[in-house]
């Protein structure tokens, strides 16, 4: 499915341009972190890539430019996890059922990912009564069980306490290690440093800078990136 190519991607709504002619390529391998201030358009960009929004102009193309259809082998974890009114394991098998996985295999895979994220004991609890951190781990498990080629994460730890944040970051690392491409947004510099291999810096809807993580933080080549890192960029 990869590489994923964005060509002059533009998105406007209610008279405002939110994403402004963004072009780039996502290749398998490196963990990509999309960084930027609040209101820069990171979430919208993620949704355009994932296929939840249709661009106003430009294209989102998979397979190196050959396939405009939205592929199935991708998943997304949102800032606020949406849990169905059923058990934790039920939430996981729900996604597997949609993907056409057979019944026995569904349960096996669901148990496996729940173990991997540390939710074995809560498997049969109603998902809605789990804590915020547990629900986000469940969301990750649900996505992981689908064995996606690409996992998009939209500010997955913005609402979590430090302990839960650490657990989520560990799990993201494990998912990456199992062969999934990670594309994640955050406005937390520390997290970007810990989890990213490359940084895409978005500001005011434009792709301002793209660099490997170390070089981005040590020597940002744009003034906007520099002031963002120093914490001086105004809130949009």
């Amino acid at each position: 499915m990869l590489p994923l190519i964005l060509e002059d991607l533009t998105f406007a709504a209610r008279g405002r341009t939110i994403i402004d002619r963004v072009s780039c390529e996502f290749t398998p391998g490196p963990r990509t972190v999309i960084l930027g201030p609040n209101g820069a358009g990171k979430s919208v960009l993620m949704r355009l890539c994932h296929g939840l929004l249709a661009p106003t102009a430009g294209r989102v193309v998979w397979r190196g430019g050959r396939d405009e259809r939205r592929p199935r082998a991708q998943a997304m974890v949102f800032q606020r996890p949406v849990m169905l009114r059923r058990s934790a394991i039920g939430n996981v098998t729900y996604g597997l059922k949609l993907a056409g996985v057979a019944h026995a295999e569904r349960n096996r895979r669901a148990q496996q990912v729940l173990d991997a994220v540390g939710l074995r004991a809560a498997a049969h609890e109603p998902a809605r009564i789990l804590s915020g951190g547990e629900q986000q781990k469940l969301a990750l498990a649900r996505a992981w069980a689908l064995e996606p080629e690409v996992l998009f994460l939209d500010e997955p730890t913005a609402n979590l306490d430090p302990g839960a944040t650490r657990e989520v970051e560990t799990i993201v690392g494990e998912i990456h290690a199992s062969g999934t491409k990670i594309v994640m947004t955050t406005h937390n510099l520390g997290q970007a440093r810990r989890l990213g291999d490359e940084i895409l810096f978005i500001n005011a809807g434009r792709l301002a800078e793209r660099a490997p993580v170390e070089r981005f933080f040590a020597q940002p080549s744009t003034a906007e990136a520099a002031s963002f890192i120093k914490g001086e960029l105004p809130w949009n």
Binding site: M76, L84, R85, R86, L98, R128
Partner: protein, 234 residues
């Protein structure tokens, strides 16, 4: 006040006397209204789901129409069904006039807008919460609708109970299409109407108390089932 007091007495007498006619009438009332609600739910819930999820030209008009039809006067619905089922009408050869089936038909028409209109609102609110996640997981509109219906089941039970209340309470439609035939199409509401028109107000009110008690019992049963389910599934 004396009438109301004697009404409770009448109600008690009827129940204690194990009046067979009374039980027959209560049973028929429940059969007709519950069947109508089941049919209306089978039609109204998918309709509500479709309206909640899909956007199409004319949708606003359809929404307003369904909401307005929640207030369709039962006697009007009864007249329309009567004209359809009358021997002089298009479906006359079915011979359904003055049967319980005709009554079910008329009440179903009354309840569908309630189930569709109210469930549409419930499902639309749920869709706002669920849409991104369900589409992300690759759910088709049909799969999404089914999931929404299941996840909002507690609210939908209330919607169905509202529909049942409408059916069990109405007299205009069943009177016209059923004919209030003694022993065949006489239900609680038409009996109450008949006794009131005969001047026997305490008996009419007593029957009214029994009807309210039956509907209350059904609502209570639904609540108990709902609570048990919430305890189990959250």
């Amino acid at each position: 006040m004396g009438d109301i007091g004697s009404a409770f007495g009448e109600a008690a007498n009827l129940i204690l006397a194990l009046d067979r006619t009374l039980y027959g009438i209560v049973l028929l009332s429940l059969q007709v209204s519950l069947t109508a609600v089941a049919a209306a739910t089978a039609i109204g819930l998918p309709l509500g789901a479709a309206l909640a999820i899909r956007r199409f030209p004319g949708r606003p008009v359809l929404l307003v129409t369904i909401n307005a039809l929640m207030g369709l006067p039962p006697v009007v619905a009864g007249l329309l069904v009567y004209l359809l089922l009358s021997r002089a009408g298009p479906l006359g050869t079915l011979g359904l006039l003055f049967t319980p089936t005709a009554m079910v038909f008329a009440q179903t028409i009354l309840v569908i807008p309630i189930v569709a209109g109210l469930s549409r609102q419930v499902l639309e609110d749920a869709w706002h919460e669920y849409e991104e996640q369900l589409r992300s997981l690759g759910a088709t509109p049909a799969a999404a609708a089914t999931t929404l219906l299941w996840d909002t089941r507690h609210s939908l039970v209330t919607v169905v109970l509202a529909g049942f209340g409408r059916a069990a309470a109405e007299v205009g439609a069943v009177m016209i299409v059923g004919g209030n035939i003694d022993g065949v199409t006489r239900v609680m509401t038409t009996t109450i109407s008949l006794e009131a028109s005969k001047g026997d107000l305490p008996l009419a009110l007593g029957l009214g108390i029994i009807l309210v008690a039956v509907v209350f019992a059904i609502n209570a049963a639904a609540q108990i089932i709902k609570s048990a389910a919430v305890r189990r599934y959250g």
